[in-house]
Subunit: 361 residues, 2 copies
Amino acid sequence: MSRPYNFSAGPAALPEAVLEQAREELLDWNGAGASVLELSHRGPEFMRAAEKAEADLRTLLSVPDDYAVLFLQGGATTQQALIPLNFAAAGQPADYVLTGHWGATAIKQAQPCVDARVAADTADGGYRGLPARADWALSEGAAYVHYTANETIHGVEFDHIPEVGEVPLIGDFSSSIASGPLDVSRFGVIYAGAQKNLGPVGLTVVIIRRDLLTRTGQARAPILDYAAHERAGSMLNTPPTLNWYLAGLMFQWMLDEGGVEEFARRSAVKSQMLYAAIDGSGGFYRNTVERSARSRMNVVFSLHDENLDARFLEQARAVGLISLKGHRVLGGMRASIYNAMPVSGAQALAEFMADFQQRNG
Amino acid sequence: MSRPYNFSAGPAALPEAVLEQAREELLDWNGAGASVLELSHRGPEFMRAAEKAEADLRTLLSVPDDYAVLFLQGGATTQQALIPLNFAAAGQPADYVLTGHWGATAIKQAQPCVDARVAADTADGGYRGLPARADWALSEGAAYVHYTANETIHGVEFDHIPEVGEVPLIGDFSSSIASGPLDVSRFGVIYAGAQKNLGPVGLTVVIIRRDLLTRTGQARAPILDYAAHERAGSMLNTPPTLNWYLAGLMFQWMLDEGGVEEFARRSAVKSQMLYAAIDGSGGFYRNTVERSARSRMNVVFSLHDENLDARFLEQARAVGLISLKGHRVLGGMRASIYNAMPVSGAQALAEFMADFQQRNG
């Protein structure tokens, strides 16, 4: 490992093997005589790569056949705008469960187009846990229920799929997709920006139960219509071929490494290692999220004295641990440990944390 | 030149120097210890690159200060959906001038949200010329006038900026931006998918006269709002950093090569070389676009006998000339000669065409 361990929350680290392959092929891809980013998306070379990427993602996530898989642009936030346009009538209620910053973003995107309601919210507690299911106020006639599976800023993760009955459940899985087995059939829609667990920035994966594609929704341009994207094989217009290709390399790598079961195992090991380092520090490091809601992806922590923050970051960098600065909303530190982060990276960070405490405690 | 000359219409060729630099930096960018696609868009490294890219594009295109420059996702087609949402009231008329396939796409995206009207149309003539300005039927109270500066499929290009009075003029410059000097101040909005003249796929440039950002438009999510993107410096959500970085390398390369004046000169040389090869072939090759409307970017032509098409493509590939197959709408051939295509590439194609004719004429 010559490069530092990169704990960026996203855009996040990719496996060195994936980057090496991309570098190797950057000027001449598969003998095409051109880079993957210089070829028509409708040419045979790219079409093969695109189809393989979709097939591999379906295998990786065990996506049932009655679900469409779309490769789109615009990030998770754009999907948050398209979801009400596609799946709700104007003024119809839609329920949102807010467990952190990104849930709050999701409802803001929906408000101009539906009667977006907060079904449950942990803002008063500072987004440190999950709202008890019994307290959710679900609406009669709701178009869907939306929640955020993992909150990257607050470090809060659902460890289960919430039960909402017949109403389609929509999950923002941007920061936890492919980190473990998931029963896709429990969802109406799953969406995820790729730049965390799935690899490259500039691509968004949307998985939709096909019957939802027949919903009328609201007046919208064809390019804002999921059914139109599905009919066009995600090539309604020029897709981000370079990003799609990189995601394909990443899907292959994840399958080669053992699939989501293996990443569930690694995620548990990595996150437990870091939470143990925090909890065992006697208050030198702190994480205030309820234990059952702690994220396996984003371990947020603060130092007992914030005057030490700059030194912590500087010394971490010196030993090859980068991008640990917390989000500006919370300050402190954040270690994002997505699929590309090896167990050795979490171990190196835990050891550095102990060492730093010894020298500064 | 070890790689073939790539005439792809988009995603299109990039200069080898740009790809070489991207390859060189792919695993460790500017000493950051990570790839550009593994770093936070809000970190100092990427922020510097993003700002430099915008400054360089402003220099390259001589963008006046009262214009915002946005770096977005979704391609030109998404902008065609956002333009009416942002700049027109519901039901307000908006005028569209259709000179080919992409103008027809633009109006389709607008129709769900405005009273989109065809002000002029050359479909009856098979999109082979420009509609005389005197015949345009502009609407009273139109929100804007939209046209397509260059039609990549039909090979039709405006050689002038149409005069439309006080109504904001909106131009789709996806396939001709930065190919010559352009008086930006004559426009309300200029937009362009980057994957042709500007380089990488997965990024769209939108240039907006700032006073238009105060228009009310129609109810829309913040992520579909240009003013919100402008306030956030095109970082309302995670931007496609890799693609933005590649565009920045391309802007720098275009400035180093001599800027848009130089690309205007090269475009004239390249396109004249190919049209001369067609016109001088005694009907062996054919282009039916009116001479004054012929594109400098996309030279479409057919062989007098379409049974020769496959042989033409195969032999062209054998001598290092690739991606010449025409769009499925028209068939035949298309040579796209954007900024990254050197004059030597057009020359090699013209020589091959003469040679092929001699052997098959």
